[in-house]
Symmetry: C2
Subunit: 130 residues, 2 copies
């Protein structure tokens, strides 16, 4: 069974050098969401943290060579599911970004570790009542 | 541009009643990963927390009616991207689970909020060095 996804929008940033993780990023940019989803952006507020799921659109096709890889900050190879490698069986990335503003269908964020034009698949609140 | 994903495995649990969030779940079960990815499971350890991305395979097709929905614990409708609703433009779920054991291609976990047979798309470490 295959699952088909369609981007809900794209990352926009002037930054050319992107940190390898949101945890060490101060990069600002925007998430430009398709206007058909505008109503779905209600309640996203400045100061909030959001999970952003995105598509590693520049990644090479996954092969067995990527099942174990050496992360930049490790001295040995690790299983791909214990890393944040962009070369994964399903090339989905996850970042935690800070919302610094919202205007219409554009969410301004800080902490980007995605390239300009990265397709966005989903946004979820990091904190939420249960 | 559409993005095609293929499950890497499936959830297995005897539980029939599933809590609506991992944050309030004590449910145990297993993630049964396709053996072709066995080597990629190296370094997943008991006691660790993992992000699990999964496919809401029982969700109805997304329509504009789901752009704003009332979460069970709220008294009003909210934008879908401020909720963890299973009815989303791209029906990807995100849970944080605790690993209680690993044997071959099976990861035993606690905190399940997915139904039995839910397709798994990706696993990432919650904590990782950068």
């Amino acid at each position: 069974m295959n699952v088909e996804m369609k981007p809900i929008g794209y990352v926009s940033t002037a930054a050319k050098e992107i940190p390898r993780s949101w945890t060490i990023s101060q990069i600002k940019g925007s998430l430009i969401i398709d206007k058909i989803y505008l109503e779905g952006l209600t309640d996203i507020e400045p100061g909030q943290q959001i999970y952003v799921l995105f598509y590693f659109h520049k990644s090479k096709k996954f092969t067995n060579d990527f099942l174990r890889i050496k992360p930049p900050v490790r001295d040995r190879k690790m299983g791909v599911f214990s890393t944040h490698s962009p070369f994964r069986p399903n090339p989905i990335g996850l970042s935690v970004l800070e919302v610094i503003g919202v205007g219409g269908n554009v969410i301004h964020v800080k902490g980007l570790d995605m390239l300009d034009k990265t397709p966005i698949l989903d946004i979820k609140p990091k904190e939420h009542p249960v």
